[in-house]
Amino acid sequence: MQRIDALPIHIRAVTKTYGAVYALDGVDLEVRSGEFLTLLGPSGSGKTTLLMVLAGFTRPDAGSLKFGDAEVIRMPPHRREVGMVFQNYALFPHLDVAANIGFPLKLRGIDKNDIHARVESALATVQLQGFGDRRIHQLSGGQKQRVALARAIIFEPRILLMDEPLSALDKKLREHMQIELRRLHEQLGMTTVYVTHDQREALTMSDRIAVINHGRLIQLDDPRAIYDHPADPFVANFIGESVLLPVEIIDGKPCYRGRPLQVAAGHARDDKTTPGALLMLRPERLVFMDDARADAAAYNRFDGVVGHAVYQGENFVTYITLDDGHEVAVRSVSRKQSLAAAPPPGSTVTLGLHRDETALIPGHTAAAGNNNNDAETNRGHKP
């Protein structure tokens, strides 16, 4: 199949309520032409609703939606020329694989021989050569997934929408399909909006990630910026593990327990003087300090007592209770030396965080929210 002319999507102030619930609450979002954008958010955050608005199955209460320059908010789904893949694939069980994939072409009155050739080519694109006359119930989960994908792209839609397309697959196959989806996107280049609640999947696949919570867009950024510079505590906790420590501003400088913090320069979001700012500690960024380090001066230091350690195969995690009672996790790679050098439970240690990896994030306005988030992250668990 050939490269597709992509279209940008402009979403403006889109709001959708169900009774008292705001499924979407004034969402503004620009999807760039040809980009792979992921909507990431917890269950019930409005991801599916937004996708349904894009596809035309849900009419929002207010707002505007443009594909390129054309306003499409009133356009029925079948005119939108949008490819769509559902979580449960929604293949047509009464048609065989070739008829499923050829369905959009048949609707467009394309000649039989043409359809046949293009179905073959689409089957090759998703690596299912020779599966054309299979029945749907004879396919495995991964194969169904590919058929659904082939059916969604065969009419060369300029926009492709996918709602958790891999969530029904097992881990291995899911990771394999992530790579294939990415490859396909690079090959065809259509604007893709992808929904997932799996943060790792979002980080792996996306050009940019839009984090959504309670129907609101919280942050729109590329994966590294989302991970390294979360816009608020919710994003910091939802993506990766983190413990957030309160920061005081003394003489215009951020301090932790009276000690000034060295903070990475340069990122606009790391406003060093915002009151209520929080310091983000990620387990893999923390190291056990050793004054023999040449660049010891470049580290912010935190003192604490070693609690228990958990061996996880490739990593091991040591839990440390800081002097002010926060429990933080330190993730180290399981190598013989590092395992041997791990401090024993009960000993006092100093943790270090390199200043280039020290990020401050704006705090919640409500203090209650802060406490909540700390309590959650102290457990240090993530899916």
């Binding site: 199955f57 789904p77 020329e81 490819g83 929604a90 009464h94 959009p104 059916r151």
Partner: protein, 295 residues
């Protein structure tokens, strides 16, 4: 999954048949430990119920082949004369055609209506949908005699008494609930995302319904249609009220004939009706079964 334990049980009882008597009575009746012997009372009860349900229906079959003037059981001599009589009597033939016509037209009216109603109620997000559903199935819950009286008086105003149109409309009202319930049940196991996908791939809503949804609920639709046929074909009470000579259905004519003169023609006709109804029911069952297997 279901067959595995049974298969194993079979093999086990084969291997250790020396110790067990080996008769089916001591074998487990199901995946539980209850043996067939322990279930004998249940089998007997079930058989009794079946006999009670079926025999009164079947008893007319031998009676219809009687050679005598009167209905009798068991018949003393056999003949086909009452079948001849039925086929040769023009009143009976007219009534038969009225019934068949009414039933077919009822099917044609009810099936599309019930399909549309079931679909509409299924996709509707309105809270009122539930009440509309209940409203549509009231004809099933109200005693037919009340409906018959109501329809009769309404038709007197509308001049629809003793017309095919009136008969078909009344039968349609009676058949709609069953048909609606069957098709709604079929839709429940259908994944509406398929229709959404079809629409996003370029099919208008109507087209998506016709090409994707309808083929997949076709078994429920056919079952509903067959049931509508039976409802109309078997109906007698409403027909008694709203049809007269020339427009009498077969069941109505039978009812009147039974009252006036008792001869075995009735038995012959009953036998034919039993055959037709059973065939329709069996067909409905088969389609229903296939529908279940598909989903």
């Amino acid at each position: 999954m279901n067959t595995a334990p049974r298969y194993m049980a079979g093999r086990m009882s084969g291997r250790i048949s020396g110790r067990f008597s080996g008769s089916w009575l001591s074998r487990p009746a199901s995946d539980t430990q209850v043996t067939h012997r322990g279930r004998l009372w249940l089998y007997a009860l079930a058989a009794l119920i079946m006999i009670f349900l079926v025999v009164p229906t079947l008893i007319v079959i031998p009676m219809s082949f009687s050679g005598s003037q009167y209905l009798e059981f068991p018949p003393r001599d056999w003949s086909m004369r009452w079948y001849d009589n039925y086929l040769q009597t023009s009143e009976w033939m007219t009534a038969t055609w009225v019934s068949i016509k009414a039933a077919v037209l009822t099917v044609l009216v009810v099936t599309p209506l019930a399909t549309m109603a079931a679909y509409g109620l299924y996709v509707s997000q309105l809270k009122a949908a539930r009440y509309v559903f209940i409203l549509l199935i009231t004809p099933m819950m109200v005693p037919v005699i009340l409906i018959a009286i109501g329809v009769f008086f309404a038709y007197t105003r509308l001049r629809l008494n003793n017309t095919m149109l009136g008969l078909v409309l009344a039968h349609s009202a009676l058949a709609l609930p069953l048909c609606l319930i069957v098709i709604s049940a079929g839709l429940k196991s259908y994944d509406m995302n398929q229709e959404r996908v079809a629409r996003s791939l370029g099919a208008s809503r109507l087209r998506a319904f016709m090409v994707i949804t309808l083929p997949q609920i076709r078994f429920s639709v056919i079952t509903g249609a067959l049931l509508a046929f039976i409802v109309s074909f078997d109906e007698v009470i409403v027909a008694l009220f709203i049809t007269g000579s020339g427009m009498s259905t077969i069941t109505r004519s039978m009812f009147l004939a039974l009252r006036d003169q008792i001869d075995p023609t009735i038995a012959a006709i009953s036998t034919i009706l039993i055959l037709i109804t059973t065939a329709a029911l069996v067909a409905a069952q088969i389609f229903g079964r296939t529908a279940q297997k598909k989903s």
